[in-house]
Symmetry: C2
Amino acid sequence: MANMLNTREQILDNAKALIQSRGYNGFSFRDIATKIGIKSSSIHYYYPEKTDLVVAVATQYRSDFISLTEELIAKNKKAIKILTAYAEVFESTLKIDNKLCLCGMLASEMNSIEPELHTVIGKFFSDQHKILTSIISKGQSQNEISADINAKDFAKTYFATLEGAMMIARVNKRPSDIKLASKQMLALICR
Amino acid sequence: MANMLNTREQILDNAKALIQSRGYNGFSFRDIATKIGIKSSSIHYYYPEKTDLVVAVATQYRSDFISLTEELIAKNKKAIKILTAYAEVFESTLKIDNKLCLCGMLASEMNSIEPELHTVIGKFFSDQHKILTSIISKGQSQNEISADINAKDFAKTYFATLEGAMMIARVNKRPSDIKLASKQMLALICR
DNA sequence: ACCTGAACACCGTTCAAGT
DNA sequence: ACCTGAACACCGTTCAAGT
């Protein structure tokens, strides 16, 4: 049994993959339609406009990413371990699928997409910022991470580094540069 | 005298602005044509394909950025000052024009643009990596920056941070977050 | 409930035709 | 040397029409 997904799920899955690979303006309804064997006009039955489809994808991505971080936190005790595993998620995405972070991709295209989408992207960044801040704070209270740094500020910068490193590593065909960037950032704050 | 630019230069200027704002797949020949008062088919006389136009823009951007860094180095003595001014260039681009780094933008769209363009983008990143590495090395030899860090590695990470911070700061409408990211990175390596 | 084809204004690209 | 209009296959979107 190869495919238990209904049409709506197939549309979402293919859209997600295409956005992470090529971006909002880099894929067409035909790409998806051809892939799942319907006509491009049929997609409008599920999602009237392209924006609606991408909002649905980004919303799903947002909550999936929260679940993912919760798993990482549950699996690892030490903050540095969690953050390292977090960076490895980005690295795998690039290495295995040659894809970027969905919200990073959409953020780059901000000026050519609907405001409705900006909101979801902003919430994704805010989610991740909050989660990373709490991981780092915990690392500080456990004497793993230097008390000198500001957890909130560092979380923001660490995340920006991963997003930037991902984009550049793809051009340079060096997914492992993401790991290196993470290692270096973490080495600077270890005590 | 408002406009001394010839048609070719007007095409390049408008293309540059549009790419930094909306990306390769986010602008059309019509956008440019309308702006400068010609027909979109006329642009093909100067640049047969969209790729040719964008290669020309990116090549120009690459050399302009080298000149710009040379000026920063000439104007400032201390490495930290140079790096801070470097980050301010990114911040101004976002703050004043709401634009991203041209090559950062194109790097995000890598999977939907021609390999010919990948080359130029790769060279831009390589240029900047080399320049940043030498600035940091000089800072180390002048006892301004910790000798413990690897200049080459840190240069790569610092640049990735700026690119990522720029993209996220645009969504959050906080251009000054770029300065904060830079400050934080530099604070970590100061001695 | 779900899908389709035809129509529309918009894309990049080509090219014969104009000045 | 430089520009244009018309044509083409491709976009997103709408909608009347099918099952």
